[in-house]
C-alpha cells in the first residue's frame, strides 16, 4: 500500500513539463512539475501521475526487486493496459 514505483525517464517534453517513463515494457507520461533538473536516464519515484523525486539507479533497482518479490509487478504488467469504463474522479488523477 502507498507504494511509489521507480521508473526511468526516456524522454522529456520541456514545454509541457512532462516526461515519458519506462517500467519494463510499459511506457507512461508523467508530470515533472514537482521536481527540478530531471534528465533523460534519471530514475524517479512515480506516484499517481507525478514524479516525486529522483533516486539513484541502485535504489531504483533495489526497490523494483522488492516490488517484484511481492508479486506486484508481474500482476501489474499482465493487467496492463486496462481502460476503465468509468470516469475518474479528481483523486484518480493524483
Amino acid at each position: 500500500m502507498c507504494l511509489a514505483i521507480p521508473a526511468r525517464i526516456t524522454s522529456i517534453d520541456v514545454a509541457a513539463d512532462t516526461a515519458k517513463v519506462a517500467l519494463g515494457p510499459v511506457c507512461k507520461e508523467i508530470s515533472l512539475a514537482l521536481i527540478e533538473d530531471a534528465a533523460v536516464g534519471d530514475y524517479v519515484l512515480v506516484h499517481v501521475g507525478y514524479a516525486l523525486n529522483k533516486i539513484s539507479e541502485e535504489e531504483a533497482q533495489r526497490t523494483l526487486e522488492i516490488i517484484a518479490e511481492m508479486g506486484l509487478l508481474e500482476e501489474e504488467l499482465e493487467l496492463e493496459p486496462g481502460p476503465t469504463s468509468s470516469v475518474e474522479g479528481t483523486g484518480g488523477q493524483r
Binding site: 507504494l3 522488492i66 468509468s86 474522479g89
Partner: protein, 385 residues
C-alpha cells in the same frame, strides 16, 4: 502502468431506497508478508523503500514494533526526532491534497509550483532530522540535540504556509479555529485556495454534507490490537477491519475531535477539511518546538517476547505494524493501515456517500468527489455514479 499500490473502485448506484455505495479495493494489504524470512535489519532497510509515500510513518511503526518485540526502547531524543520526521511527512501529505486537489474542486489550476517548493523543503527538513539515514533503524544513532540549520528551514516552511495555505500565521489560525465566528470570518476574508474552498461550501450550503453515524476507532490497548492482528482471520481483519463488530473511522477528523466548529456546522465536509488544515498547523507547531524529545513521543511498552506492535498516527489515521520474530528471522509481518478502516465497504466513506441528497448526476459526482477527497484514500480511485 496503473499503480501496484492498488486503487479503490467506488460505485454509487441509485435504488428505490436511496443511494447504494459499493467500494472494491485492490490495495495489496498483505504485501508486508514478503518480509517473512528476512532479518529485522533487512526488513527495516527495505520497508521504507517499498512504502515510500508515507515512508517515515511506516518506518516509525516498523521500528516501534521491532523494539517492542526485542524489549528495547529508543532514547527520548531518537523518539522525538522520529516524531518530528513523521510530522514533516504528514504536513507534506496534507499539502499534496490542499495544493493539488483542492484547486481542482474549485475549477482552479493546481498549485504545482507551490507543491514543488513544499517537496523540496520537506526533503531538506527530513535530511536535517535524519542526517545519517538511520533514524528508524534498530541501532539509530542520529546526532543528539537540535538538528543544525533546521530553524531556517522551519522559518521557510512557516512563511510558505502563511502565504499559500492560511493567509495568516499558522499559530494564529490555530487560535481562531477554536471560535466558529472567527473561523467563518477567516473563510470569508482569506485569499488562499483553502479559504476559498471552505468559503464555497458555506455559500453553497454544503458545509454539513456527509455526516455519518460511524464512530471513531476507540483507544485500543496494545494487547487487544495485537491479539486481533494475530488471530487466524488476520488477513480479513487488515483488509476490512471492524472493532467490536462495527466499522470505525481513524483520520485527522477523529484525531482533532471535537472541534468547536462541529456545534455550528455538524461533523460534515467543512469540519473534515478544517481538520486537515489543523493537522498541518499542529504538525508545524510540533516541528518548531524542537526535536529533543516531546511529551507526545511516548515509548512503546517493551515486551521482549519476539512479538511486537508498533503504532504511529500517519497523515490519514492510525497505522499499526505487527511483527513476530523467531531465531533472528521475521516469521509474521502484518500492516493495518487507516485507508482500510475509512474505506471499509460499510465504513465512513460508504455511509457518507449514501447519505448524499438526491441531485443531478453532475452535482452528485462533485459532492461525492469532495467527500472522498476530504477523507483522503492515499491511492487513486475511480468513482462511478
Amino acid at each position: 502502468m496503473s499503480d501496484p499500490g492498488g486503487s479503490l473502485d467506488i460505485q454509487l448506484t441509485p435504488s428505490s431506497g436511496g443511494l447504494v455505495c459499493t467500494i472494491a479495493s485492490t490495495r495489496p494489504v498483505a504485501a508486508a508478508s514478503a518480509f517473512v524470512g528476512r532479518t529485522p535489519q533487512e526488513t527495516t532497510a527495505r520497508l521504507p523503500l517499498l512504502f515510500s509515500i508515507c515512508a517515515r510513518a511506516q518506518a516509525g511503526a516498523c521500528a516501534a514494533a521491532f523494539e517492542q518485540a526485542f524489549g528495547g526502547v529508543a532514547s527520548p531524543i531518537i523518539r522525538g526526532r522520529r516524531e518530528a520526521a513523521i510530522a514533516a511527512e504528514t504536513i507534506r501529505e496534507h499539502l499534496w491534497r490542499i495544493l493539488l486537489d483542492w484547486p481542482a474542486i474549485l475549477d482552479e489550476p493546481p498549485s504545482r509550483e507551490d507543491m514543488a517548493a513544499v517537496l523540496a523543503l520537506s526533503n531538506r527538513i527530513l535530511a536535517r532530522l535524519d542526517p545519517a539515514g538511520d533514524l528508524f533503524g534498530l541501532d539509530a544513532s542520529s546526532a543528539a540535540g537540535q538538528a543544525p540549520g533546521l530553524d531556517v528551514l522551519l522559518a521557510d516552511l512557516t512563511d510558505l504556509l502563511t502565504c499559500k495555505v492560511f493567509g495568516i500565521a499558522p499559530e494564529h489560525w490555530l487560535q481562531l479555529i477554536g471560535d466558529p465566528a472567527s473561523f467563518e470570518r477567516w473563510c470569508r476574508k482569506a485569499e488562499t485556495v483553502a479559504a476559498r474552498l471552505l468559503r464555497s461550501l458555506l455559500e453553497s450550503g454544503e458545509a454539513s454534507l456527509g455526516q455519518t453515524p460511524i464512530a471513531a476507532l476507540p483507544t485500543v490497548s496494545d494487547e487487544d490490537l495485537l491479539a486481533r492482528m494475530m488471530a487466524p482471520d488476520w488477513a480479513e481483519f487488515v483488509a476490512r477491519p471492524t472493532w467490536q463488530g462495527q466499522p470505525r473511522e481513524t483520520s485527522p477528523f477523529t484525531r482533532v475531535y471535537p472541534l468547536p466548529l462541529i456545534e455550528v456546522y455538524g461533523a460534515g465536509l467543512l469540519v473534515r477539511l478544517a481538520a486537515q488544515l489543523t493537522e498541518v498547523a499542529t504538525g508545524l507547531r510540533l516541528l518548531s518546538r524542537g526535536t529533543a524529545g516531546s511529551a507526545a513521543a511516548q515509548p512503546t511498552v517493551a515486551s521482549g517476547t519476539g512479538i511486537g506492535l508498533g503504532r504511529v498516527f500517519a497523515a490519514r489515521g492510525l497505522l499499526a505494524h505487527l511483527v513476530r520474530v523467531e531465531d533472528g528471522r521475521v516469521r509474521d509481518y502484518r500492516v493495518l493501515a487507516p485507508t482500510e478502516w475509512n474505506f471499509h465497504p460499510r465504513g465512513v466513506v460508504a455511509r457518507a456517500l449514501e447519505g448524499l441528497p438526491p441531485s443531478p448526476e453532475a452535482q452528485l459526482r462533485r459532492q461525492a468527489e469532495l467527500l472522498i477527497t476530504a477523507i483522503d484514500p492515499c491511492v487513486a480511485f475511480t468513482l462511478t455514479c
